[in-house]
């Protein structure tokens, strides 16, 4: 009993902050999601799970969900493979100026996200941007990164550019923890460089890959900054419900539908949690 209280004293400060900043907002969002307040007339009424039923039947929500899902399925593997190749190259000790490449690849991550998107917006502009210059050079009008079908790949390109360096660093630091003896043993066994990668380095990276994948999945589902900023350049392509987060944001700040917005956020949070959990389970099981 005595021991228990002592423990609580140590954990207390953390728990207090955790409860205040994590549990309370989630609790409040759940509370909000059970009501429906009319911004103009009619006041606030308890509606039980009605909002959830509406979200499940909301084609806008599912459209935005499927959009980020397809984004995730394509962008995350591309980004992680690029990051992996970069990490292996830098770790290989055959690269001249490895630390230079490491910092250059990492640099985009240090650029504030909003600035990065604005910069890419200028590059993508097909009236005056780099895209326009390329079109002029080639005498074509084919390059339109901000048009309907190109938009999602264009956003994926920005996100990849931003986060390859970050993921590379995760992989690279995992590679640095591989004991030197393993490489020596591989060398004595006459393993080629590629064979060393397959038999020593990749297994050592598994944990890092699982972590990076989970981060990337969460990041993809929370996609917001990039489309929200590009929206000013392509308002008709990027709708107010382009991604689930944008949908929640616009519901609450343009439509004053706070309750429904909270419901969208919770449903999206649960879906994200489930998918991330499955990935984590699968990742750790394979590691065993």
């Amino acid at each position: 009993m005595h021991r228990d209280t002592k423990g609580w004293i140590f954990v207390g400060p953390f728990l207090a902050v955790f409860a205040l900043t994590f549990l309370a907002p989630i609790g409040y969002a759940i509370y909000l999601s059970l009501f429906r307040e009319q911004a103009f007339f009619g006041g606030n009424v308890f509606v039980g799970l009605d909002n959830y039923a509406d979200v499940i039947a909301d084609s806008k929500f599912w459209e935005s969900f499927l959009r980020v899902l397809s984004f995730l399925v394509v962008q995350v593997p591309v980004m992680l493979i690029l990051a992996l190749l970069a990490a292996l190259a830098i770790d290989s000790a055959r690269l001249h100026g490895a630390s230079f490449f490491r910092i250059v690849i990492f640099l985009p991550y240090a650029v504030p996200g909003v600035v990065a998107v604005l910069m890419w917006g200028f590059i993508y502009g097909d009236n005056f941007g780099l895209a326009a210059d390329l079109n002029n050079l080639l005498g074509s009008t084919a390059i339109k990164p901000l048009s309907g079908h190109w938009m999602l790949p264009s956003i994926a390109n920005i996100v990849t550019w931003e986060f390859v360096g970050y993921n590379m660093l995760i992989f690279y630091s995992a590679l640095r923890t591989v004991p030197e003896e393993l490489y020596e043993a591989a060398a004595i066994d006459g393993a080629s460089a590629l064979r060393t990668v397959r038999a020593v380095k990749l297994p050592a990276l598994r944990g890092a890959v699982v972590i990076a994948t989970i981060f990337s999945i969460i990041g993809s589902f929370q996609l917001f900054n990039e489309p929200n900023i590009l929206r000013t350049l392509a308002p008709n392509v990027i709708t107010t419900y382009y991604t689930p987060n944008m949908y929640a944001y616009n519901l609450s700040f343009a439509g004053q539908q706070f309750n429904y917005s909270a419901t969208v956020a919770i449903v999206m949070g649960v879906i994200t949690a489930v998918i991330a959990y499955v990935v984590q389970l699968r990742g750790t099981r394979e590691a065993l």
Binding site: A24, Q38, N44, L233, P235
Partner: protein, 451 residues
């Protein structure tokens, strides 16, 4: 959001916290009631305003007009007992979002805020603004143009005094017009013909740009005589297929489907560039545009001219495009003093500093002032542009009203009508989709919407 959440290690511990981001935001604005503070409902009178100005106090003022700082300084000189905290809380929607949040939170609102005419009903009808008739401000009617006076009303109430106005006119690049032998159009049919002529002569040039802009579309429907929105208490009628609306789409569809509109969103960097280098040869826009051109499109100096907006029958007819009022918030602890500030800003001493910063007035006396009327603008090649613009102020089509949830309506314009623009197809289909979305939103918010 992506940046900050992709890497939170804590996410791994509690993946469920993915919801947190959104819920924190929501928590910040989810105050549960909207009880108006009782002080805002106190009965006032013209004398109360004068007494409050004399007695003094402190008020907070939110505005994004470039002249705000000069106006506040001049006001504090005239009334040394009053201290005004001026805050630029963002332009347009950015400020409205903050304003809506503090109104919902029940505290933190400014005493006086700038609100565009199109946004006024959204704040006035739920009871967030003070009806200024109690201070006798309804006696100022003759000081303002009829269209702006109508615009500061919602229902019967008077919820602000007009700051400026934006009667629409045709701004055109004379250099481009001369080079390609275009004539300044008097009717929209002529306008379409010029658009074709220019784009055929040089496929890189367009008579105008339009990627779908709710403010522009509603103004154009207004000019065509459409009355798609009407509100009476809880009852709202939405009809975006009325004769006026179809008159506009009848013309504009030709430009949309013919690919005759530059795909450059307004107010983007590309837009300012295109206005300067002749890519966009004309704009149908409010009378506040000269100040914008002069400060942001330096390359167009000497090239631009102003003409009356084309109409359907060649007779003068125009609409308001933009323009703002200053309103007193219900949350204000000293509404009489706030009202006094508004009276000074838009009726008395504040008008001159506003005009000095390039604003276009809503006050009839200033519109008729020879010094204003006959001023030659060097940017416009010495043209007396105010002659054209003030005559536009007198030919605004009457009886227009915006929706009580116009800001929300504008926010989803791109989702609906924008799709027609993007696909270069019939705008009427997009307008119907917009209407359907607005009807269902209005009904959800407690209105009885017919549409």
């Amino acid at each position: 959001m992506k940046t900050s959440h992709r890497h939170g290690l804590r996410r791994l511990v509690a993946v469920g916290a993915a919801v947190t981001a959104a819920s924190v935001l929501l928590a910040a604005c989810g105050g549960s009631d909207k009880t108006a503070t009782s002080s805002g409902q106190a009965q006032g009178s013209p004398d109360a305003v004068n007494a409050a100005l004399e007695k003094g106090g402190t008020i907070t003022y939110w505005s994004w007009t470039p002249s705000a700082e000069a106006q506040v300084k001049a006001f504090e000189q005239a009334y040394p007992n009053v201290k005004v905290n001026y805050v630029n809380a963002g332009t347009g929607n950015d400020q409205y979002t903050k304003l809506q949040n503090v109104i919902k939170a029940g505290s933190g609102a400014p005493d006086v805020a700038q609100i565009e005419y199109q946004a006024l009903p959204q704040f006035a009808l739920p009871g967030s603004l003070v009806d200024l008739r109690q201070y006798g401000f309804d006696s100022f009617q003759s000081a303002y143009t009829p269209s702006t006076w109508t615009a500061v009303h919602a229902g019967d109430g008077l919820f602000g005094l007009p700051q400026d106005s934006g009667p629409m006119a045709l701004f055109y690049n004379k250099e481009v017009f001369d080079k390609y032998g275009l004539t300044v159009p008097k009717t929209w049919d002529e306008y379409v013909a010029q658009a074709k002529k220019l784009h055929t002569a040089d496929p890189k040039k367009y008579l105008t740009n339009d990627t779908g802009d709710a403010g522009f579309a509603t103004s154009m429907i207004w000019q065509a005589g459409g009355k798609p929105f009407s509100t009476s208490g809880k009852n709202v009628t939405i009809n975006l297929q009325d004769a006026g609306t179809q008159k506009w789409t009848g013309v504009w569809n030709q430009l949309v489907t013919g690919g005759l509109l530059a795909n450059i969103p307004g107010w983007s960097d590309e837009w300012f560039k295109a206005l300067g280098d002749g890519t966009i040869a004309s704009l149908s826009v409010g009378a506040w545009m000269p100040g914008v051109l002069e400060s942001s499109v330096k390359g167009g100096a000497g090239k631009w001219r102003v003409a009356p907006l084309p109409s359907y029958d060649g007779q003068p007819a125009t609409a308001e495009n933009g323009g703002s009022t200053e309103s007193v918030l219900k949350q204000s602890a000293n509404p009489a003093l706030a009202a006094g500030f508004v009276r000074w800003l838009n009726h008395d001493g504040g008008v001159k500093p506003f005009l000095a910063s390039g604003g276009f007035p809503s006050t009839t006396a200033d519109l008729a002032d020879p010094a204003f009327l006959d001023k030659k603008s060097t940017y416009f090649g010495g043209q007396q542009i105010n002659q054209v613009l003030t005559s536009a102020a007198g030919s605004v089509v009457k009886d227009w009203s915006y929706l009580p949830f116009q800001l929300y309506a504008n926010s989803i314009f791109g989702d609906t009508v924008g799709k027609s623009y993007q696909a270069k197809t019939d705008l009427d289909a997009g307008l119907k989709a917009w209407q359907d979305a607005l009807v269902s939103y209005g009904n959800q918010q407690g209105f009885q919407v017919n549409g």
